[in-house]
Symmetry: C2
Subunit: 245 residues, 2 copies
Amino acid sequence: MKSTIPDTGVPITPPDANGRDRQEASLHGEILLRLRDYVVEGNIPAGGRVPERQLCEMLGISRTPLREALKVLAAEGLIELLPNRGARVRQLSRRDLEELFDVMAGLESLAGRLACETITDAEITAIEQLHYEMYGHYLHRDMHGYFQANQRIHESIVAAARNETLKTAYANFAGRIRRVRYSANFARKRQRWAEAMREHEAILDALRRRAGSELSDILFQHLRNKRMAAIEHLTEPQEGVQASP
Amino acid sequence: MKSTIPDTGVPITPPDANGRDRQEASLHGEILLRLRDYVVEGNIPAGGRVPERQLCEMLGISRTPLREALKVLAAEGLIELLPNRGARVRQLSRRDLEELFDVMAGLESLAGRLACETITDAEITAIEQLHYEMYGHYLHRDMHGYFQANQRIHESIVAAARNETLKTAYANFAGRIRRVRYSANFARKRQRWAEAMREHEAILDALRRRAGSELSDILFQHLRNKRMAAIEHLTEPQEGVQASP
DNA sequence: TTCCATCATTTTGCATTCATTTTTTGTCTC
DNA sequence: GAGACAAAAAATGAATGCAAAATGATGGAA
């Protein structure tokens, strides 16, 4: 079933990396997932063309489902479609990034507010756990570990909001930034790192007290600071990440 | 050019109602806009099938661009695609609506916060103008006028946030609710109406003082209350609006 | 009559084909 | 050698065709 895909040594990700729609039933859905991951992971340089024919061969499919997937990715903001001139990986300007970070901040801020309404003690404990883990990474200057724990904390907050619509939107925007986010080596600034830790303390504190409005403020400000750290070092024009050679 | 559309008495909207992407250059883009409006305006009953062939004739196109548009609408959450069983207009459960309203609340709350950072006196004056207009409608018990002015106020706040990404996301979610929103005849409750007016006073006040965090709170609460009013009267299962006969 | 199996019809998913547009290549002129 | 024009090649956008799946109808057995 599912039309024998000849497995042309496709380098694209396995069919379930991103925790999203799961509409793998159709070929189009499968292609969509793989293509999205392919782009999000930065396999195509920013602004680079997305060659239909080549991808078709790579994926062993015809152009129809591929083009459908491209249309969807364009709607998601990952690529852009130039009339009669094909698809390109969207080049995010500095302004685009600022906007994206702000929207993410708004969504997390909302997530925190909602989470306070229904979060359980167990969930808070789990987040505390992650927090201490993150603190350990901080002490060991382990950027990568810190980054991962940090991300899981934020995801936990979003999950605690118990709002699938929010979660999906959050994942969508996160995907758009991901290419850049990894390059945001803000940890260079020791001071910012320490500040972020303090902010996380405050987040936990507000969460424990279920102080929704307050948490909302703290989260927004936290993300705003992150935005500053991530973006300020970019030179005007655009995205700071290229495809690995 | 652009393939003679035989104008089969298509009831769909003119090609520029919704203030969105404007990718009318391609046939696909045109179809996308028209189809989106067609669905948003409730021309197909909730949960009803979206017959490909029929729509193709109606629009005078082949199935390929139509199917591409359907895929995009599905990604936007307006319709859903059942494997091998075609597209249906998404049936929003009560829970879906609650979630959507909350996300809208979060986005507007964010918009208010951002707006406070850069809004000009002139913009505030314009919003005040709308506010008084709305108050007039309120006094005259003109539900429709009130509703429109109200909507323009909220849109003005979003515009004042100067964040295109936010604006697009906002428009997207607004589209999903639109079908239901009109049926939210919360005005029946005189008291809620008066309350909403008071909340709007508070919104304006916070805006004048550029009190971002405060405005954020007020807006969230305002939308939360709106959600209550709009949803509480729905009987459990789902959407409360049908296609007009 | 009701239930279920079988077959025809419709619909969907994808591949293929066709018509344009864009891009590249090659040649000619200055 | 640089630039301009023209033709060829490639890529895109949309239509059509075909196999698989689903829907609906028909008929037979309990």
